[in-house]
Symmetry: C3
Subunit: 142 residues, 3 copies
């Protein structure tokens, strides 16, 4: 698969919580990092999602927020993944920032250049990627 999303992660379904309409899919990424996705029950059935199934999780970089200080608040977004800033590539309006998570997964975000300054992002510094579970697209081997 060749897809434009900066983030295409290989993993395994670790848990599937079925609801009336949607299913929450917990994914163990190779390396040990974890990710939650929400898909419709229809998609979950169509893709044959069950615990142990290999999947890829696809996340477009502009769907990833970055946070350097989460103190004082709890967020509705299901994924808050802490790591270290690996690279920062600045453009005129947008900047691409890549984090390395604890388990070794690299995750790329596109944020505005003001955000980079305000958050004090720099290579080697700590930051968290915030991702809504509904912004994770799942793929399964055909």
């Amino acid at each position: 698969m060749k897809i434009s999303a900066r983030n295409v992660f290989s993993g395994t379904v670790s848990a599937l919580k079925e609801g009336a309409v949607n299913a929450e899919v917990d994914i163990a990424l190779s390396g040990g990092d974890k990710l939650a996705a929400v898909v419709t029950m229809e998609s979950a059935k169509s893709l044959g999602l069950v615990a142990g199934k290999p999947v890829v999780a696809v996340i477009k970089a502009p769907w990833v927020l970055l946070m350097t200080d989460g103190s004082g608040y709890r967020l509705s977004a299901r994924n808050i993944l802490t790591g270290t800033v690996k690279t920062i590539e600045a453009g005129a309006v947008n900047t691409e920032v890549t984090l390395t998570l604890a388990g070794g997964t690299e995750i790329t975000s596109v944020v505005t250049k003001e955000a980079v300054a305000e958050l004090g992002l720099k290579p080697g510094g700590s930051a968290s990627a915030v991702i809504k579970a509904s912004n994770v697209i799942l793929g399964v081997p055909a």
Copy 2:
């Protein structure tokens, strides 16, 4: 909280409409502007959302569309917030546009530079921000 999203609004839950799966959360922003968010019932319970509760609403700038003429159509997006263009910062492909809403809330959008030309956006001009309720992340004091 230090987060990359250009839009982090303080407000208070004004109404909570519970559904089987999702909850619609109406938020009164300081200044008088209003915003609707949709979160899962699980998130609504976990965050303890009830009328009167202080919350922050987090919206990434690329999730905000701009509209200068809404005549003739009604949209499925729940939030259509009218204001005045405050600033326009152009890049090679994307442009960052900030509106000031009636109640004083400033909201930032990232759109393509062609969109700025086609919509005739200029500082002082009128425009509306269009935001899907499911693209609003909520945070509550920990």
Copy 3:
């Protein structure tokens, strides 16, 4: 309607599948291309969506992923629209790519410049647009 989204498609509702919370709306675009949208049942009723109703589908360019090789995987995203690359406009971080679909619909995506290189995108080449159904905003004549 003047809206910043690069993709505003005219079409007709071809089928409406009602669920407990959400409705899937199948749309026949003029030219013959097809698109699936998911909106809440509340929105579907409020907009009066029924088969045969004229609608516009609004999709912001950063919500469109591009894929040049989908072999080996099936995705949870409902829309996978194959076409030919018409234009590529590069910026420092982001690049705007427009595809022409089989039925003539032109669809625009914003992806990172690395993605353009990795996918080997060039005018005249084949590529598919991948769009989550929940990222399609619908509009109906007022």
